[in-house]
């Protein structure tokens, strides 16, 4: 099946389908979803194209959606005086949205912004609840996904305490090889809680990690 160029401005049904299929692959890491159940999701989800630096959710507004990142890089951040503090960096295959705000209906504690041109598959809270109410599979998927994000959240917190700065940078680079060079250095430093001066001193490890990762890729491609 032929798909149009992802960067094309023409939003064709094929393009939408491809993005949603990526989401299906993501969910099926947790449990299998029947075609009927997935159709239920497809008719209630939407695809959103974001340009670079586009603000998706504003701090202070109540979050209405959750998004799957089909393409691009997204950050969660807030401003502390003049400083921008990045609390989340998410690439393809990840989920963004001011979850706390969505669940509690309290104002969002963060801005959510595309750091690169991005494509998101989004769903509203109401439609999410419709899925939970009408499908046992989505009900279960909701729980499994929530477990996944709870684990991720806790692990992030533990990692900051457990690992020294340099190792945190290496671990981040290893888990995000594709997006590490698409994110401004200041954002990575902020997210990893590394002072800008320290980051400048140690960022050479990124080059080393990239070389190692690309060598690994070549070996695995050959295999």
């Amino acid at each position: 099946m032929l798909y149009t160029n992802h960067n094309s401005q023409i939003s064709s049904v094929c393009n939408f389908g491809f993005m949603k299929d990526q989401f299906r692959k993501f969910v099926e890491n947790f449990l299998s979803i029947s075609d009927a159940d997935f159709a239920l999701f497809e008719e209630r989800a939407f695809v959103k194209h974001c340009h670079k630096n586009e603000i998706i959710t504003k701090e202070g507004e109540v979050e209405k959606f959750l998004y799957f990142v089909a393409k691009g890089v997204i950050q969660h951040y807030f401003k502390k005086g003049k400083e921008t503090i990045t609390t989340e960096l998410v690439g393809e295959g990840g989920v963004v949205g001011s979850a706390s705000s969505l669940f509690t209906k309290k104002p969002s504690l963060y801005f959510i912004q595309a750091l690169q041109p991005s494509i998101l598959v989004g769903i509203s809270k109401e439609n999410l609840e419709y899925l939970y109410a009408h499908s046992r599979a989505w009900q279960k998927a909701g729980r499994l996904l929530m477990s996944h994000f709870l684990i991720k959240q806790e692990q992030q917190y533990i990692d900051v305490l457990k690992y020294p700065i340099r190792e945190r940078l290496v671990r981040f680079a290893n888990s995000n090889p594709d997006i590490i060079h698409q994110i401004p250095q200041a954002r990575i430093a902020s997210y990893l809680k590394i002072k800008p001066e320290t980051y400048t001193r140690i960022k050479h490890v990124l080059t080393e990690v990239t070389i190692i990762n690309s060598q690994k890729k070549v070996t695995s491609d050959k295999a």
Binding site: F78, K80, I85, T87, A99, S100, F103, T104, L109, Y110, Y132, R136, Q139, K140, G142, R143, M146, S147, F149, L150, I151, Q153, E154, Q155, Y157, I158, L161, K162
Partner: protein, 206 residues
């Protein structure tokens, strides 16, 4: 009517029912059903509830007492959570993934927990129609609590964080050993002592 072996005071039972209902509406029968899958566990002061390396088998709600969750690092420990009555606490990564725990859970006071074993939870998710929703909503609540705390820790000054916590949990200052409270709030012990006197001064002038 489902019978359960849970021997808890009515006051605690009512609080529990309210807590469960905050996640999902439960009929009286459904509440009793849930309880029938749970067990009550008692711990002495100083008991380790779960060790680093052990696989967590339980989800717990504190019925009575005080539990801390901490990470043991090279030369110190870092307190991740303080749980008192009606708080949910366990080594969640270990529990959800059934992998070795990275954290310790310790009773700081004589403690009674309402616990749900992993196997019973799996059964409950199959048997109970509201099980999936209940589980998800509990995890959402845990996620929100941690997210809001993380946000406060990044946004507020040490002093603001201290006052925020003490304003909402005034009895914890007396109840929790200083070293644990200081660690939980990410405050150096010397700074913590200074801030404590701030609060005492405030109380005197009030």
């Amino acid at each position: 009517m489902i019978k359960h072996n849970i021997d808890i005071e009515k006051v605690q039972l009512d609080k529990l029912e309210k807590l469960f209902n905050s996640f999902v509406f439960l009929t009286k029968e459904e509440f009793q059903l849930l309880l029938s899958y749970c067990e009550v566990r008692h711990f002495e002061k100083g008991d380790i509830i779960i060790c680093e390396g052990e696989t967590e088998q339980f989800m717990n709600i504190v019925l009575m007492g005080l539990v801390i969750k901490y990470l043991r690092l090279n030369n110190h420990s870092s307190v991740l959570q303080l749980a008192v009555e009606n708080h949910i606490i366990n080594s969640e990564i270990s529990f959800l993934q059934q992998t070795p725990s990275q954290v310790f859970l310790e009773a700081i006071e004589p403690t009674t927990l309402l616990s749900l074993h992993y196997d019973k939870r799996q059964q409950l998710l199959i048997d109970f129609s509201k099980g999936e929703e209940m589980s998800r909503k509990m995890m959402e609540a845990m996620y929100v609590r941690k997210d809001e705390r993380k946000n406060r820790m990044k946004r507020m000054t040490i002093r603001e964080q201290f006052l925020y916590y003490i304003d909402r949990n005034p009895d914890m200052l007396q109840r929790v050993p200083q070293k644990y409270l200081a660690s939980y709030l990410n405050i150096k012990p010397e700074t913590f002592s200074r801030l404590k006197h701030l609060v005492a001064k405030k109380a005197k002038t009030a």
